[in-house]
């Protein structure tokens, strides 16, 4: 399979809709149910006040990011954590490589982390000859399938029970009709061995508290707690935008991210990590490394308005509510972050050209902005990247030309109505290859039903 890339969005999305209706169905059902739970959980609290507060904290933090990063770094070091800085995936890998070499790591367990997906970490570790096992159940499923995550929170959202039954039958020897509990038990047993034998635990990080150097991780399964507690070494990859100023800020963010993501009052397991095992503790990692990763974030921070995407806390609420995402799931987008947030993070982190056409994978319906826990104005930022795409010459020349012609008519009602009148004489249903834009419409929606006469002509004659 070719490497996923945003470039293939059109063909991939069409292929999922046409050839994998069951995948579309899985995504439809679960994203709807996630969204319903979010809506109920928002209704139980003053969610508007929570979101306004969270937006303000993140905006404040990002506008003082250098100061908070220095503060966090100082506290991490004070806590006995090894702090590393990585410009990009390559540098993040180099850190990991040195840890693997220094500790003679043979086996690694990994907790779900979108940043490591963004950096493509697993493939690198395989190159090192280190077995790395995804331990989140959903990540485990897609790792066995050789796929990437299709959702920020629910990576296997596109896979049905039947898919899992077939997969576990093949990989773990469970019966083909095993129920979810049996499948989960088989996965638990297989992964328990991995946890107990791993030398290295790799994780991401949901929040990094500047004033204490506390790293907070949120989950439901317990695999993050295990990955960060059992192996001798723990390496956490944390995006530099994950900072929050104070420990008490977690009270809001832990509750808000859970309500937004899954409708829970709080994640079932929250890890608050301060560093390596202390003398009076019976277990825990001997060494903890935090790798602060930029990978395009500081560049995005410099972008007027578009920097607001950095407030994102990766809850996936915008995916669940998005009618475009629901049709395909995340794979079609060809990048770690899909859906509405992907459309505004991709141009910022990958560069606009590499992110095309993701800013166009939206109807601008605005449902995402209504649910975002940190009030990112997603549709406005999508528009901003579209404007940039036009300016940078990244849209088809024919479109640019057509828009110029259209623009000419702006101030000329005569020309505008004349061209409207002219347009009325063009047959719109010939489905010609010569006008692909038109056939893109007519193929599934038929010819455009023009009125017999323009309104302005009706007006001229007088409306009775």
């Amino acid at each position: 399979m070719a490497d996923p890339t945003p470039r293939n969005y059109l063909t991939e999305s069409a292929s999922i809709i046409r050839n994998h209706p069951e995948m579309s169905q899985s995504v439809q059902e679960s994203s709807r149910s996630f969204d319903q739970r979010r809506a109920d959980a928002y209704d139980q609290v003053d969610s508007q006040a929570w979101r306004t507060w969270a937006k303000a904290v993140k905006t404040h933090t990002l506008s003082n990011l250098d100061r908070y990063l220095e503060e966090a770094e100082a506290h991490l070091i004070q806590n006995g954590v090894h702090v590393h800085w990585a410009e990009d995936g390559q540098e993040a890998f180099t850190v990991l490589e040195s840890v693997v070499a220094a500790h003679g790591v043979k086996r690694a367990v990994k907790a779900k982390s979108m940043l490591t997906e963004e950096l493509g970490l697993n493939r690198f570790l395989e190159g090192l000859g280190v077995g790395i096992r995804e331990t989140d159940l959903g990540e485990y499923i897609i790792q066995l399938l050789g796929e990437g995550p299709s959702h920020i929170v629910a990576p296997a959202i596109h896979r049905s029970l039947t898919d899992c039954q077939a997969l576990f039958h093949r990989e773990l020897g469970t019966p083909l009709d095993a129920d979810p509990d049996q499948l989960a038990a088989a996965a638990r047993a297989a992964l328990r061995e991995e946890f107990l034998s791993a030398d290295l635990g790799v994780s991401g990080g949901n929040f990094l508290v500047a004033e204490t150097g506390t790293l907070a991780l949120v989950e439901n399964e317990g695999n993050i707690r295990l990955s960060t507690s059992l192996p001798r070494v723990h390496v956490a990859f944390v995006g530099i935008e994950k900072l929050i100023p104070r420990l008490e800020d977690l009270s809001g963010f832990l509750q808000l991210v859970a309500r937004a993501a899954t409708g829970q009052p709080i994640g079932t397991f929250v890890s608050l990590i301060q560093g390596p095992r202390k003398a009076d503790e019976p277990d825990g990692p001997e060494e903890v490394h935090v790798v602060l990763v930029d990978n395009g974030r500081s560049r995005l921070l410099a972008e007027e308005a578009a920097w607001e995407a950095l407030r994102c806390i990766r809850c996936g609420a915008c995916l669940n509510v998005c009618p475009v995402f629901r049709q395909t799931g995340g794979h079609a987008y060809g990048w770690a972050y899909s859906g509405p947030i992907g459309a505004i993070l991709a141009p910022g982190l990958l560069g606009l050209e590499a992110a095309m056409p993701l800013p166009y994978a939206s109807t601008l319906c605005g449902a995402c902005a209504d649910v975002c826990p940190v009030e990112i104005p997603i549709p406005d930022l999508i528009l901003l990247w579209r404007e940039r795409a036009v300016r940078d010459g990244l849209v088809p020349r024919a479109e640019r030309f057509a828009m110029r012609v259209f623009g000419q008519a702006a101030k000329r009602p005569g020309l505008f109505s004349a061209s409207g009148g002219l347009l009325r004489k063009v047959p719109l249903d010939f489905g010609s290859k010569a006008l692909p834009v038109l056939s893109a419409w007519t193929e599934t929606r038929g010819s455009l039903p023009r009125s017999p006469r323009l309104f302005r002509d009706l007006w001229k004659d007088g409306i009775k």
Binding site: Y9, L10, S13, A14, I17, R18, S24, A305, P323, V324, R326, Q327, T328, P359, Y360, A361, T363, L364, C365, G366, A367, P377, D380, L383, R386, E387, R388, V395, E399, R400, M403, F406, G407, A409, A410, K411, R412, P413, F416, S417, G420, L438, A440, W441, E443, T444, R445, G446, L448, P449, R450, S451, P452, R453, L454, F455, R456, L458, W459, I463
Partner: protein, 260 residues
């Protein structure tokens, strides 16, 4: 009558829903408005704006502000165009994001919104008695303008039963350029709407773009349910309509788009 209302037909209205725009005029006059149609009007620029062609969109915005400069009220039979004028002109012409252009602030309304919020009218007549109607919430009417109850209230007061529709508030997949740039997803979104549609006597919406999308798709799928522009349905609500936009009559290019 003293209240002067300037009608902005919008390009979609002018081209594809001419009879429904005419019904808007009839309805507003019926409500005592003095309706004028500034001839200089063209398009709100949304097709360019949503696709990122801001230079062109700006031309349309500047022009539109000029055309409606002296209007007391600008009423549009379209939620998304009203949203464009109200929330994006400010941004386009150098203002704050999401802010109205100072010259249009407080004067721009979608038709049903104008009737309910400005005129304070919810009872148009009982011309829709016995009709089972599904209302599609266009995204911009719903989320940009916050128009949710107004059209439903007008329909109900006129005797219609507004039917529960699971996907009533979901996007139809039109999205301007989206409909042709990402046609497969766009079509699948329309299918989701149609798959969940109960069996109403008609489907209506305040937005022509959505109606073209849904009606076009429904027709292609062989569904016979009619789709009508809200302006025509509201005119029928008054009981004064003679076929033009009445739920039982009309056809392509009259009361809007038919599905059958």
């Amino acid at each position: 009558m003293d209240m002067r209302v300037s009608l902005f037909a919008t390009c979609v209205g002018d081209q594809f829903f001419a009879e429904s725009v005419a019904d808007s005029v009839r309805l507003l006059r019926h409500l005592g408005m003095n309706v004028d149609f500034p001839k200089g009007q063209t398009c709100c620029g949304q097709p360019a704006f949503n696709a990122g062609h801001m230079e062109e969109a700006r031309e349309f915005a500047r022009h539109t502000v000029r055309v409606f400069d002296s209007s007391d009220y600008v009423v549009l039979p379209s939620g998304s165009c009203a949203g464009m004028l109200r929330h994006h002109f400010g941004t386009l012409l150098g203002g704050k994001t999401g802010a109205a252009h100072p010259k249009l602030a407080g004067r721009v309304f979608e038709l049903s919104e104008f009737i309910v919020r400005v005129l304070g009218v919810t009872d148009l007549g009982d011309g829709l008695k016995g009709q089972r109607i599904c209302y599609h919430h266009g995204c911009h009417a719903l989320r940009t303008l916050g128009v949710r109850e107004e059209p439903m209230e007008l329909l109900r007061q006129a005797g219609a039963a507004v039917m529960e529709w699971e996907a009533a508030e979901e996007c139809c997949g039109f999205g301007g350029v989206f409909s042709v740039k990402v046609p497969h997803v766009s079509t699948a979104m329309a299918d989701r709407k149609l798959d969940t549609l109960p069996s109403p006597d008609l489907v209506t919406s305040a937005d022509g773009g959505c109606l073209m999308q849904l009606a076009g798709r429904a027709k292609k799928r062989g569904m016979s349910v009619p789709f009508r522009h809200l302006a025509s349905v509201l005119w029928a609500a008054t009981g004064s309509a003679r076929g033009s936009g009445a739920p039982s009559g009309g056809g392509v290019g009259r009361g809007g788009v038919t599905g059958g």
